[in-house]
């Protein structure tokens, strides 16, 4: 819950609601970008962010994203988060 996971912002889905599609280890997940947007959220496309429970909380560079992901994989947290994202999608049906 507290470790978060790096994801890359690939597209702004709703500028009004501050939502964007993020690529999290190959999984697409809609996230809220209000906490990292400075002005036009479109400027975030292509950036890496640390994502906590569906909210982009800090912008990080690509090397930091890779290192964090590696650490999370060792902890088993990356897989767990991806399972939680899948479970979140199932909960909506």
């Amino acid at each position: 819950m507290c470790l978060g996971i790096p994801g890359r912002i690939v597209e702004i889905t709703d500028a009004h609601r501050m939502t964007a599609m993020a690529d999290v280890s190959g999984v697409k997940r809609e996230v809220n970008v209000a906490c990292v947007a400075e002005g036009d959220p479109a400027a975030l496309v292509g950036r890496w962010a640390l994502i906590h429970v569906g909210f982009a909380m800090a912008l990080i560079d690509e090397a930091e994203a890779a290192a964090t992901l590696e650490a999370l994989r060792h902890l088993g947290e990356a897989q767990e988060t991806l399972e939680q994202i899948a479970e979140g999608a199932r909960a909506l049906s």
Binding site: N32, A34, G54, G88, A91
Partner: protein, 381 residues
């Protein structure tokens, strides 16, 4: 050194471990009289065990596992209340997965789900809000749990629900804050701590100044740390170097993610939606002043406590005893190691947890169970 080779930079890790050893020797830290460093965050506890850092560093360094595992400090009464809400007709109760197996006095959310309640694990409070949009005839409740890392997510979700006037969504708010329990531990004459490793992602939200009281009022160093093994080793070294130099300061090892003043959007959302409660009950620590958050009256329409009349604010917390024979509270406050509890690994295992410390991967007991601890009789080397 069996773990070092899998670090991203083994040479840097070995250099840090060597330097930690030198400073530990210089300040006279020994196995019998160790420097006691509390890692506040459960994510750090998990990482320390996963990488065997407690075994890699000089034996005069003792890690004391702090209260920073949100589900571990959740009293059984809160779980009972969550179950009570979830079992109401028409309710869809949603929660992070971590909370599903935490035992209440009668049952966990997972057991309530098995008995027929509509309880769903979600990844984000945004999933719960989306569920409310899709099922307008149902009442969707989200179990708002966690420290400052997750508090902005529920605050922003409540603001969104208010903007869209989604009336069938509510948060059962049990959010808590990190600094007050640190003060309680520092005021405890039985807790002899020499320094702290500060939480990385909580600090990403609140910045580093909320910890200023630790060096100022108690003369102890704190270093806010990242989650990679090198981050943690470097932070241990920074704490030791402060002790060696007779300094006590707030230092930020995780500056690449943690801004000094935190995240302004998150802090504004938290301040808008939540207000501090006079006090809040923590499992193992008891009532702590100003340590919990409640939803402000302006957002009462999205407050499950106001909607259902169930919860800490509505019904005064009754003290619920810990499961018989367990010593969760002593483990929680660092007085004993998990292996000092008679239920550890016998009646209490990750498959059948009696206490919450065994439920979450961030809990000290689960970490000991999975990886073994150096100072307990279970030490695996």
């Amino acid at each position: 050194m069996r773990y070092v080779e899998e670090f991203r930079d083994p040479a840097a890790a070995k250099a840090l471990i060597g330097r930690i050893g030198e400073v530990a020797e210089a300040i006279g830290a020994t196995r019998e009289s160790p420097v006691r460093i509390m890692e506040i965050c459960g994510g750090h506890t998990h990482a320390i065990f996963r990488y065997g850092l407690d075994r890699l560093v000089h034996e005069g360094i003792e890690f004391i596992h702090g209260p920073g595992c949100p589900v571990c400090v959740l009293p059984m009464a809160r779980v009972d209340e969550a179950v009570e809400i979830a079992e109401r007709p028409g309710v869809i109760f949603t929660s992070f997965g971590d909370a599903m197996r935490v035992p209440g006095t009668k049952k966990s959310l997972l057991q309530a789900k098995a008995e027929g309640a509509d309880i769903r694990t979600v990844y984000s409070p945004l999933d719960a809000l989306e569920l409310a949009r899709r099922q307008p005839d149902r009442e969707v409740v989200f179990f708002g749990l966690g420290f400052e890392t997750t508090t902005p997510s529920t605050a922003l979700t409540i603001q969104q629900a208010a903007r869209e006037e989604i009336g069938n969504f509510a948060v059962f708010c049990n959010h808590i804050t990190v600094p007050p329990p640190i003060k309680v531990l520092l005021d405890d004459p039985h807790m002899l701590l020499d320094g702290f490793i500060g939480p990385g992602h909580v600090s990403m939200v609140i910045g580093t100044h909320p910890y200023d009281f630790i060096p100022r009022d108690y003369g102890k160093p704190i270093v806010v740390a990242g989650f990679e093994p090198l981050d943690l080793l470097q932070s241990v070294l920074m704490v030791l170097e402060q002790i060696q130099a007779g300094r006590a300061e707030v230092e930020n090892q995780y500056g690449r993610v943690v801004p000094e003043h935190g995240n302004p959007v998150s802090l504004a959302a938290i301040a808008d939606v939540y207000e501090p409660r006079p006090s809040f009950a923590w499992r193992g620590l008891g009532e702590i002043d100003a340590s919990g958050l409640a939803i402000r009256p302006a957002y009462a329409a999205w407050d499950a406590v106001a909607k259902f009349g169930i919860g800490y604010g509505a019904r005064r917390a009754r003290e619920v005893a810990e499961p018989e024979g367990t010593r969760c509270a002593e483990v929680m406050t660092g007085r004993i190691k998990p292996t000092g509890c008679p239920m550890f690994g016998t009646d209490c295992t990750p498959e059948t947890p009696l206490g919450a410390l065994m439920v979450s991967s961030e809990g000290a007991c689960a970490a000991y169970w999975q990886y073994g601890g150096r100072r307990g009789p279970e030490a695996a080397e």
